[in-house]
Symmetry: C2
Subunit: 439 residues, 2 copies
């Protein structure tokens, strides 16, 4: 019997598990999901028929026992843990699937995995994942007709329906891992190509450099450059493209306000704060030097750091709250825990996922632009659009691995027709459909 082990049961797991359970019933597979947090495990597997196990996955012995004898492992663990999982998979001869970026470590396992006939499928979620597949489908079609890609832009955002964000001037709540939002861009520069020139933006001014983007039918959004877009130049076949940009979407005005937090030091994840600073209020005073008698929001306005629109955002965040936060000991820890209260997804809030590709190409002597727009709306805080769009591609990918007719082995990302052909069709059946247009 084929055995699927899912490691971790976070926010992205419900749709993944539901899909796998349905397939398992159909095909006689066995599905086991593990987490060390029993509450998370029960919450994110509500109403699903599968095996649950509470265990400490950070223990290599436990992990090895889980993986041994399985057919495929799905890792929903923090990305930093994928490599240890992959090494055990290699040892035990088990396939692996993740929705995360391929790390250098992971890439280094390609030959070994390939020699053993194993598939280590990565970047099989939303972004990265659906973006690769939907963009490659469009670009393959253009190239089949003899066209050349001259500009490539691809944007994605995990947002909240505007009507479910009323009274929150940031227009934002957490529909996925808050840590990733707080640390966005950190650990180096974002790299992309724009009108033939390579651009590098350090993380501490990434949000200052955010642009405005019009998405057909959906209006204007903020967009900032996401990691190293040029890493996909060869994978996407864009050696001759003048623009190559992968970006992240936020509501209008989010980025310039977030930039203030970055600039002031609220997102620093390195320095252990000196003893008395454990609340967002104490942190605000340390970072701004504001006098005791003034609110941080007003002080920032008075000193020209923010305008009135941004002042309201800071007022909403209650930056002078003196409640002690216990998440950790850096600015980023204090900010994250504070934001987790302020940007909490209520049980009935609906998130939305938006993806947009804008691809300039040649058709004979003419330059044309292809637009692909995806909008997926969540049902509630458990059944989010984020969980659906991250989880379903991964589940379908697992099904394809188990089908046994994959043309690739080793460390793989889904850019070939074998993957996108089937996955995009399956996603359409689940209501995940791009609207496409050319002008």
């Amino acid at each position: 019997m084929k055995r699927i082990v899912v490691l971790g049961s976070g926010r992205s797991s419900w749709y993944l598990l539901k899909y796998l359970c349905e397939k398992a019933r159909e095909k006689g597979w066995f599905v086991l999901v593990c987490d060390r947090d029993e509450k998370a495990l029960l919450t994110h597997t509500q109403g699903l028929f599968l095996e649950r196990q509470v265990c400490d996955i950070s223990d290599v012995a436990v992990l090895t026992q889980l993986i041994q004898g399985s057919s495929v492992v799905v890792s929903l663990l923090p990305p930093v843990m994928h490599f240890s999982v992959a090494k055990i998979c290699l040892e035990c001869g088990v396939h692996l699937a993740t929705a995360s970026y391929v790390s250098e470590d992971m890439a280094g396992l390609h030959n070994e995995a390939s020699e053993k006939g194993l598939i280590f499928l990565n970047e099989m979620g939303l972004d990265p994942g659906i973006d690769h597949m939907s963009a490659m489908k469009v670009m393959d079609q253009i190239r089949e007709k003899g066209g050349e890609i001259v500009t490539f832009e691809s944007y994605c955002g995990g947002l909240i329906l505007e009507e479910d964000c009323k009274g929150n001037p940031w227009g934002y709540k957490f529909s996925w891992n808050p840590r990733n939002v707080v640390l966005a861009g950190q650990g180096g520069m974002s790299i992309f190509r724009e009108n033939g020139n390579t651009r590098c933006i350090p993380w501490h001014r990434l949000f200052a450099e955010a642009g405005q983007l019009e998405i057909p039918g959906l209006g204007r959004f903020d967009a900032y450059a996401n990691r190293d877009s040029l890493g996909y130049t060869n994978v996407y076949g864009l050696q001759n493209a003048a623009t190559i940009l992968r970006g992240t979407l936020r509501r209008n005005g989010f980025c310039r306000a977030w930039q203030v937090l970055v600039k002031l030091g609220y997102t620093d994840a390195i320095t252990v704060l000196p003893e008395p600073i454990g609340s967002i209020g104490a942190l605000s005073q340390a970072l701004t030097g504001r006098p005791d008698e003034e609110t941080t929001a007003n002080w920032l306005k008075k000193n020209g750091v923010v305008d009135e629109e941004m002042r309201e955002k800071f007022e909403f965040l209650d930056m002078d709250d003196m409640q002690q936060r216990n998440l950790g000991r850096t600015s980023a820890d204090v900010l994250q825990e504070h934001l987790m209260q302020k940007w909490l997804l209520n049980p009935n809030d609906r998130d939305e996922v938006i993806m947009y590709h804008r691809i300039g190409f040649t058709e004979g002597n003419r330059l044309k632009t292809h637009h692909s727009v995806l909008r997926v709306i969540g049902k509630d805080a458990l059944h989010t659009a984020m969980a659906k769009t991250v989880g379903l591609p991964l589940a379908i990918g697992v099904e394809m691995i188990l089908s046994g007719d994959c043309p690739e082995t080793g460390v793989v990302i889904p850019v070939k027709a074998y993957w996108y052909g089937h996955v995009l069709k399956e996603l359409e059946g689940q209501g995940i459909v791009f609207e496409e247009s050319i002008n």
Copy 2:
């Protein structure tokens, strides 16, 4: 016979070695200096009578052989290497002396070293080093008379004599490790106390927050906060002080111009630059997005990033130079190698070291301010004020360790009268004298 092994022969070694050689002749000690770079070894030991050895100190076996049977090791190696040296010293029962900050790793060796009766003397250079000793001497005197310290500020800068910096609008050349200048402040926030409030400044705006400082008799300087000043609160006995600030000095106008380099991303040491970017010119284009036909300096001026004074500084740096730099693969690498050409100390250039303590204290019911000012001027590019003020305290510290009557063992920094009493007196004999005043 007592045997002193000096590891590394960098810019700070000449005065150290000269002092040790003189003492060695007097007392029958043996001095060995090692470096893997033969040229650096010969240059920095010109005219000195001692044993030289070219060897690869990064090899643990080589290092162990060097250390075994010695009385004391002086590590002038990059700080990151001190810990491995210290562990071998611990094994071999050998004392250790460095001019570097005590790392967490190093601090962790305190008990073990102490049990073995070993002295691991650190922070025994200029800053840290002379600053600790000269400040503690003043503060001990104040406290002996019943005074209390209410504000503590201590500044230090390694600068170049203004007349030897003509035509260089930055007023700066490298008299010490260029890497430290390029990476200044990185790896977290600078922390200090100001008028009773704890302040934290992230490195990416450290230079924007630099202040102006008047030093009695020497004029105005830029000053930025240096690392974690509050780490010295207990060591200095400043629990009740409203201001605790250790700062670094630069010429007027340096900091706001340097801030532009930091802000734009020139000092990023994490991201490997994409392939075509290996010159300061290509880097400038990637970081600013300036058009081909415009110089970076002019483009920055036109876009309001710099004013005319700063534009001249960037013009001087020739930010559009397309010469390929080979030091490494990050922005910081390219910038450093470029600056090493532009800010090169010519053979006859004279550097100067300036240190200034401003200490507010109580005398009865009155508040008074103590000023200590040190100015040391170098002779030329080999006999720098920097080498003298870093090397001599360390050499004197080594002599004190070998004298065998140190009251402390374990991981030690020179804040007690035992150290400063002797060292400051010896330094006075070498022309390193503070001018002190009270008002």
